[in-house]
Symmetry: C2
Subunit: 254 residues, 2 copies
């Protein structure tokens, strides 16, 4: 039977890959790579570097697929994403059917961990539900940018016995952030940290964490907010893209 | 200057170790290992296996340290843990001073990731604050049991755009769990999931995840609760210890 591996490859530091991921990559006949266009070509190169560094077998193929755009005319965020997942599902179905022989292994390499803010497993759920192609699959976890951020700042995510909340920039305002002590924010394109105006909040911020472009900054949110916004904007202009993440901590709670 | 590495080694599957962790382990002169007594000797053996499998150099030493007990007479959980951290700090201070030469590297191997419910970085903060010994340190992230659980169940931790809450059994009742959609519970010795009585809650449970003793179970919480309690109790008796984790998901939200 066809086999598909969904492999977490870390969030930018090529050494964050696991032995399990490397062993699995060396079983793969066809790598399916979603391409998001030129802007993030740093990431494409980094992924290619990872493959060249860790795959010993020479007989694998790589198939690049242009990721469909999300339809901006769909107002609801969840509906917009669901339509996009359905488009991806049809693309994947055709790819697996046409490019993978019955006894072959395919793989999708995922930044970070397939369980955290990545759509691959949802697309696979849809493929399984459609039941048109037959395949097995396995999931290989990978180091997330959350973990890379904490390691580089040398911090814990939680205070003693405390909870940790992981959310998106979009959700930050609707979550009960003022009741939460440790909030990790991912996928924030709009500097949503400006909304966390509590004086006691500390921010631990990082961009391109684990890569040679890494920028780290931490301190009282109220004091660092403007610097982070300026540094973030400058880095985005310079590199053509940015991927950043931060922890907000209510320091009164420590 | 002395150097100390705090290295995440994954949560039980020896293949979850990263290339960074392996490279770092091969720089180390002295491994400091906290021992918790016979009950968790499976974990001691597993850690030893990891060292033997991935360390090529032959000249390293391992120093076992008996972890101090937490004082049950201290009623407050946070105070009890803080006293325990202070005891650990004094032990570590003496160890680093006596066992590590000025130009040597020491390491502490941490299950999972040093950023998540582990006390090592807090002890290092205390050492730094005491300022009696001089050392540099670095943190190497590792795959957590949260990630191992999700990978083995082949699930995402979040619904589309949703937040994720990571908490402890102790905290579960005080967190606003009914407002939260995806709750990961760690360090739960008391089956706190019984408190999450919402009919729509699904549980994805795992014990010894990633090891050869792994047990996985999932479904409607209300239907699986009693089985999980029974299986958990039987496994604890059989193995002398248990380490389990689960995700509670409000399925109405998907």
């Amino acid at each position: 039977m066809r086999k598909l591996y969904v492999i977490g490859i870390g969030s930018g530091n090529p050494e964050h890959i696991t032995i399990e991921a490397i062993r699995t990559m060396n079983l793969v006949d066809v790598f399916f790579v979603m391409s998001k266009g030129e802007a993030k070509s740093d990431l494409v190169r980094l992924r290619k570097d990872i493959c060249e560094r860790y795959i010993d077998k020479t007989s694998y193929r790589t198939i690049e697929v242009v990721d469909p755009e999300r339809d901006p005319s769909i107002a609801s965020y969840v509906s917009r994403v669901e339509v996009w997942h359905e488009q991806r599902t049809l693309i994947w179905e055709a790819l697996i059917e046409n490019e993978l022989k019955e006894d072959q292994c395919g793989a999708i390499l995922v930044w970070g961990d397939p369980a955290l803010y990545d759509s691959t497993l949802r697309v696979i759920d849809r493929l399984t539900a459609r039941n048109k192609i037959c395949f097995e699959y396995e999931v290989i976890p990978g180091i997330t940018s959350v973990q890379a951020l904490a390691a580089r700042h040398k911090i814990m995510l939680n205070g003693i016995g405390e909870s940790i909340h992981i959310t998106t920039g979009r959700q930050l305002s609707t979550d009960l952030v003022h009741d939460l002590k440790n909030v990790v924010v991912m996928l924030d394109g709009e500097c949503a940290f400006e909304q966390a105006f509590d004086k006691d909040v500390e921010i631990y911020w990082g961009a391109y964490v684990g890569t040679d472009k890494e920028i780290l900054l931490s301190g009282k949110l109220i004091e660092k907010m403007e610097s982070i916004k300026a540094i973030r904007q400058a880095a985005r202009v310079k590199n053509g893209w940015i991927m950043d993440i931060y922890l907000l901590r209510n320091s009164a709670s420590r």
